[in-house]
Symmetry: C2
């Protein structure tokens, strides 16, 4: 029976991102990632089907959390208030590891068209999760689509602000996504 490896998943992610930024994504193998993490290849495959999925492993979790946060917003919440609740739910699972690794992750994505495509599809999936959750609340289309796109933009901008911010700052991700959502809402007034 497979031995439980404490923190194995996080160690694999850290090792992978280190190797991606050192050698490039295409040149990195699953065996190298496992070795760097001090684990076996079969342990790797207990957590991830391949190296690409490792980078986007959190996607389903993110989509689910966004949808649950939106569904759980008060019944009188506006579409953007519901989106803000979804973003807050996501913030709760973002660890210091996410924050530390992001600059290297971003570099790995920028250097690989395969990762760019995977990352773009992830965005489409997150927007779709939010749209579906908003429609389930009775938000009519195209308002639901639009609110979901604002949520996605707010998530990306807030995430970039969070990972780029002074590490001594005690604001969590929700602070930055909420601020970004407010700025985007204000910007709707100047679209013309």
């Amino acid at each position: 029976m497979a031995r439980w490896e404490p923190g194995a998943r996080d160690r694999l992610v850290v090792a992978a991102v280190e190797l991606f930024s050192e050698k490039g994504y295409d040149e990195t193998t699953v065996a190298q990632i496992a070795e760097r993490a001090g684990l076996t290849k079969s342990t790797f495959f207990r957590y991830f089907p391949d190296k690409r999925e490792l980078l986007v492993a959190g996607q389903e979790t993110l989509g689910t959390l966004l949808a649950e946060g939106i569904a759980g917003a008060p019944s009188d919440a506006t579409p953007l208030q519901a989106v803000a609740a979804g973003l807050k739910a996501v913030s709760g699972v973002m660890s210091p590891i996410n924050r530390e690794l992001w600059p290297r992750m971003k570099a790995a994505i920028a250097a690989s068209s395969e990762l760019q495509e995977r990352d773009a599809l992830k965005s489409v999936g997150l927007a779709a999760s939010m749209t579906t959750a908003l429609v389930a609340r009775g938000v009519p289309d195209p308002t639901a689509h639009l609110a979901a796109e604002l949520g996605l933009l707010a998530f990306k901008r807030g995430y970039a602000d969070w990972t780029g911010a002074d590490r001594e700052s005690d604001h969590d991700l929700a602070y930055y996504t909420s601020r970004a959502l407010g700025e985007l809402r204000a910007a709707t007034a100047s679209l013309g």
Copy 2:
């Protein structure tokens, strides 16, 4: 010297989409596409580096047209009026072939995760082209980002309406994208 093939590019696209919907994207080879089009493999490679690029061959053209349309809008145009000018510029190059093939293209994309990823990255690229063109007009961020996302949503929704509309309708794509942009603009009032 390579012989010039009249209409070769369009014939390759039509043949490819037919085969993708008959056999699936993964099972279709470049040789089969060329044969169906009555052309050689080397003719195929004069137009496209591989079968995937064939499906998104218009991306660079679309991005350039959107950006040029935005850049060419009157200097007192609002951000959304500039985006509407970009969408109108794109509409001019959309042929009946685009309209005819879309339902089968959509089915091919839905059946292939590789195509979904490529398609998602295309969307990101189009939004980036519009954002850059808006920033060059002096539109501040995040208004530029937001206007570009509305433009992208309007393009997708307008395209779906155009390809789904009664073929006897004499409205062009610009009519549908403009209508979608207007609906999205109106929806900003109900975001809360």
